[in-house]
Amino acid sequence: MDKTSRLILSISVFLGIVSCIYFICLFFKLPQLLLFAFTILAFFTTYLYIYKENNTFNPITQFTLLHYFLFIICIFILAQNCYNLSLKHGQWDAWAIWNYHAKFLQDSVNWKKLFQSTECDHPDYPLFLPATIAFFSNLLPKNLLLLFPFILSLLFTFLIPYLIYSQLVIKNKFIALLIFYLFCQDVFYITRGVSQYADTPLAFFFLAAFVCMEYADKNKKYIALAALSIGICIWTKNEGSILAFIFILFYANKFFNQRTIFYSIGGFLIPIIALLLFKTACTSSNDMIAAQNIHSFKRLFVKEGSLMIYDSFVKNMNEHFYYLKVGFFIYLILCIFQKRMPDKKIFLLISCTLAYSILYLFSPYGLDWHLETSQNRLMHQLMPAWVYVISLKFCRNKDNVNFYI
């Protein structure tokens, strides 16, 4: 893996580990000194294990001035959109859920009060975002408290397109730049990105797992890194467990063979410990799960519900993810012309999309309202991984399709 991608992964994974460590330290009432010792250890581990690589692959990529110029324009558009679309306190869920939970976690004595609340608080939501905000907010002066949640959301909004770009640019500069531009001009992606919600970090870690699996055969540490990314997905949002389950199922042979199982366990370990402590000892049950009963499965066969989900999916696709739709169709046409089956990753992503859609059939709320308020966010979580997997297909034949930009 190239140096830039490793840098991006080490920064994000460090944040993931810090949030887990912070929560574990809160849970066991460990002293602050130990928390900082663990944090420093996490920093050096991610630096030495992920970023530093002896047998490193350093592609000597020279860019033309035109490429450089277009890249600067993309960054300018991205920066301007991020600034214009951001809100002081974030969007509704940011202050009503994520940043609100962070305020509880900042208090090492009374943090468990968070789990007493039952009115629209969602105390069952995993704690990647609140714990990261809480950890860094405790270190910051008071006048920067509103800034940090924004910085965190901005970071992931920047890192997603840049990770895809750094992965593609060594294969095909034109495709890399085109994909980067599509993200930078995507108002929906950036609005969700800087909303201070947990959807964008989840999207990032899911994407990171795909990127790591690309290198799993070359270096086993990427198995550990993929496992860690998938673990952090579960630690970021409840939906992350669905994504993780499907991902592990598809890559079970890579995660759980004799040569890699210890790497996988090592990767999963920290987020799973944090999650188990959180789910078993702290939180109440999830509202979706609690509302299910023996008759819930009958909803699977209600035609109206499925049609409503499909219509909403198509509407969202046309409104917010049009380039993904175009890319997917071109991908399918390419597969037909090349007489090849679509990649395993495509089936994985289709399974995730289907699982997310089926989930709505079990919704205890009004389906209309539930689709309206959350389906586009679920699609946003999968979108970067979709874009990455599809664009990989267009980058395979580097020498054939390089426009020398």
């Binding site: 830039t4 960054i75 306190h89 208090d107 004595v109 640019v169």
Partner: protein, 125 residues
């Protein structure tokens, strides 16, 4: 030119956006900030582990969520019987009638008002 320069450019953009956002939020005043001003001083009175409920009189429902966020990590419930004090937020034209109604049966610990709302924190006498 190598990819390292592109990373540096991205980092510069990241810092500039953060800085501009910081400047903007220091100047910008939205409804949450207005409520924050109205509730200022309350965080020193309400203990972190206190049981508080909220009553909204002729106001937006969102005010409960905003108040809860602003006063966090104090937990403010809207539907509970287990409370020791009540935070009441009403429109400013109700200030006197609310004060008279509350001061009969309850002890008003703290009050404040702005051009839109009046705020009372009361407990049983």
């Amino acid at each position: 030119m190598k990819i390292r320069f592109q990373s540096i450019l991205l980092l510069i953009a990241f810092i500039v956006v953060s800085f501009l956002f910081y400047n903007r939020i220091n100047k910008e005043q939205d409804e949450t900030d207005k409520l924050n001003k109205g509730l200022s001083g309350l965080e020193t009175i309400i203990p972190i582990n206190g049981n508080i409920t909220i009553k909204l009189i002729n106001t937006k429902v969102e005010l409960w969520c905003w108040a809860r966020y602003l006063l966090g990590p104090r937990y403010i419930a809207s539907k509970t019987n287990n409370y020791d004090s009540v935070l009441t937020i009403g429109t400013i034209n109700l200030k006197d009638s609310l004060y008279n109604a509350y001061s009969k049966d309850l002890k008003i610990i703290w009050q404040n008002s702005d051009d839109q709302y009046c705020y009372f924190l009361s407990c049983k006498q």
